[in-house]
């Protein structure tokens, strides 16, 4: 038979509990006032949290040494995308050494889940996950981002160049 122990009249006032709670609050308050630098709260717009370089943020389209887009429009990223947010329109290039290139490369930011599968699928290091988190917008903002945002936005400072170039690859026989 289970016996339920009723709390006594003294402990029903919860006095020790209240004082322990107040003590902890006061301790944290005094500590924070005396150690302003160690305070956990960030003053967000002025003070920003630094993410690691492995952070998966908004996409970056890399560029070649001459400034054109590295992407060869092979559609592997669009095929591998679980959310089906990438649309590529390929076109023929005037230069015979370049097979084809994308005239439109669009990513729907509202649909993208930032899994990094496009980066994994890319054979020529054309798509990377960048260091910035996504910026919110009010209704009416265009969230379908094209080449001019993905490759040449102001944070990238003129585009990030890819590791391998076409001529180097042909020289190595890849």
């Amino acid at each position: 038979m289970s016996v339920v122990k009723r709390p006594s009249s003294v402990s029903q006032w919860y006095l020790p509990g209240i004082f322990v709670g107040l003590y902890h609050t006061l301790k944290a308050l005094l500590y924070n006032l005396s150690h302003r630098q160690k305070m956990q709260t960030l003053d967000y717009p002025e003070e920003k949290f630094e993410y690691s370089p492995r952070f998966k943020g908004t996409h970056v389209l890399t560029v070649k040494k001459d400034g054109a887009i590295r992407c060869t429009a092979c559609m592997l990223c669009a095929t591998n995308c679980p959310a089906q947010c990438i649309t590529i329109i390929a076109s023929e290039h005037e230069d015979p050494s370049v097979e084809k290139f994308p005239i439109a490369y669009e990513i729907d930011m509202l649909r993208c889940v930032f899994c990094g599968f496009c980066e994994e699928a890319c054979p020529v290091d054309a798509v990377r996950m960048g260091p910035e988190w996504q910026i919110p917008g009010i209704s009416g903002t265009n969230f379908v981002k094209g080449i001019d945002f993905l490759a040449f936005r102001s944070q990238l400072k003129g585009g990030i160049s890819s590791v391998l170039d076409d001529q180097e690859r042909h020289g190595q026989g890849i």
Partner: protein, 165 residues
């Protein structure tokens, strides 16, 4: 008697002023986006600093609705009823790829619908899940929408143009 009335009026005015500056959200988020909303309320990114109260328990107290996580078709009626019970200038923040477009579930045969089909969304926060900073940015833009600040420069230019004509 007169003094008492005047004092109470002044107190009421002060209370109204404070209440106008504080928005109260109602959080309707599930899944992994809820973790980030908790993160934005917690001590590192404290959204109470920006004049945004801690999440309301009653819908009637709230004037901002935060929606996140994937939304099934059968949930839309309840969402509408939640929206109709809010007070003041209502505004909606939609968080995460699932709520905004259905993301990977959109073409999977599940009946997942975007929030924009059900409610008028004011601020879109893309990301899967969005960082707490993005949620704080959304809060700031909601505050701008709810209480638009007067652009004194533009007003001055307009007045000068009228006078010139």
């Amino acid at each position: 008697m007169g003094l008492k009335q005047r004092l109470s009026q002044k107190l009421q005015h002060l209370m109204d002023q404070v209440e106008n500056q504080i928005n109260t959200p109602y959080v309707l988020v599930h899944g992994c986006c809820s973790m980030e909303v908790e993160n934005a309320t917690s001590s590192t990114y404290d959204w109470r600093r920006l004049g945004f109260a801690s999440p309301a328990k009653n819908i009637e107290d709230a004037d901002v609705l935060i929606v996140g996580g994937w939304i099934h078709e059968s949930f839309s009626e309840q969402m509408k009823s939640v929206y109709s019970q809010m007070r003041g200038k209502k505004s909606v923040i939609a968080i995460g790829a699932c709520a905004l477009s259905g993301a990977p579930y959109a073409k999977s045969g599940e009946k997942v619908i975007p929030v924009t089909d059900v409610l008028p969304v004011d601020v879109f926060v893309p990301g899967c899940p969005p960082r707490p900073e993005a949620i704080l940015e959304a809060i700031q833009s909601v505050k701008k929408l709810q209480k638009p600040q007067k652009d004194h420069k533009a007003m001055l230019y307009e007045a000068l143009r009228i006078r010139g004509n």
